[in-house]
Symmetry: C2
Subunit: 146 residues, 2 copies
């Protein structure tokens, strides 16, 4: 991870921001949680390393990381916002609006759409972590029963 940390530091600096111990700890904490994690979990983890870090710093830093693309956030509309370290490979999720189930999908499915948006609208869709809401097969079947 130390190796990766250095890369991240460069990204932060390149964007004109400063690399502080707080930011490193927070990034490590998000990293440490494999997969999705919540703000509360990150906070607990960070406090173990440095109990003086304030919640407001966490909010601000997480927001910054999302802006920089280091961290990916996913609002599953269940009251909690999830955070995840940005993975090198692009992956996306289908989230069922009914049962909340989440499923990873292949990048290839959206490639063409992303390209078309880029050429038609000159807009670079963030392909790091796309979240598509909808209804999964199981729930759709259930709904049509009634």
């Amino acid at each position: 991870m130390s190796h990766k940390s250095i890369e991240y530091e460069d990204i932060i600096r390149a964007a004109g921001h400063r690399v502080t111990p707080q930011r490193i700890h927070i990034l490590d904490a998000v990293c440490a949680a494999n997969g999705h994690t919540t703000l509360g979990e990150v906070y607990a983890r960070v406090r173990q390393v440095d109990p003086s870090i304030d919640r407001s710093t966490l909010y601000r830093t997480l927001k910054l990381f999302v802006e920089l693309g280091l961290v990916v956030s996913a609002d599953k509309h269940d009251g909690e916002t999830y955070y995840e370290i940005a993975k090198p490979h692009h992956h996306h999720h289908l989230v069922c609006r009914k049962c909340g189930q989440e499923r990873e999908i292949d990048h290839a499915v959206i490639t063409r759409m992303v390209e078309q948006v880029l050429s038609d609208y000159d807009f670079r869709v963030d392909t790091n972590h796309l979240i598509l809401f909808g209804i999964c097969g199981a729930c759709a079947a259930q709904l049509s029963d009634r």
Copy 2:
């Protein structure tokens, strides 16, 4: 609008919820605002009709409406959540993660992707209001300058 209200009432009832004056007023208020509106605006509008309606009711009701698909919400990551009455025609938005600018795009662009997700993953993507985050052309140019 009265005609539409009746349709909406049916949807609410069909989902097993009750139609109350408060809910009608809130739906009307979202309707009255053409296009995007914020929670604060809806609150103000609702209070003109019935000053006794509480904020918590508004929060709960808006959340319910979004679940039912009557209202569409868009978190532009600028601190405010936007609400909009679900339109009969499908439309989608590109939101720039940098400058927050928002742009409507054509449904055709995503049609193919939606179909592929349906056939490959048996998942019906909610095509009512898709929000794609990314970087708009202007901001992309700005970023590469540095």
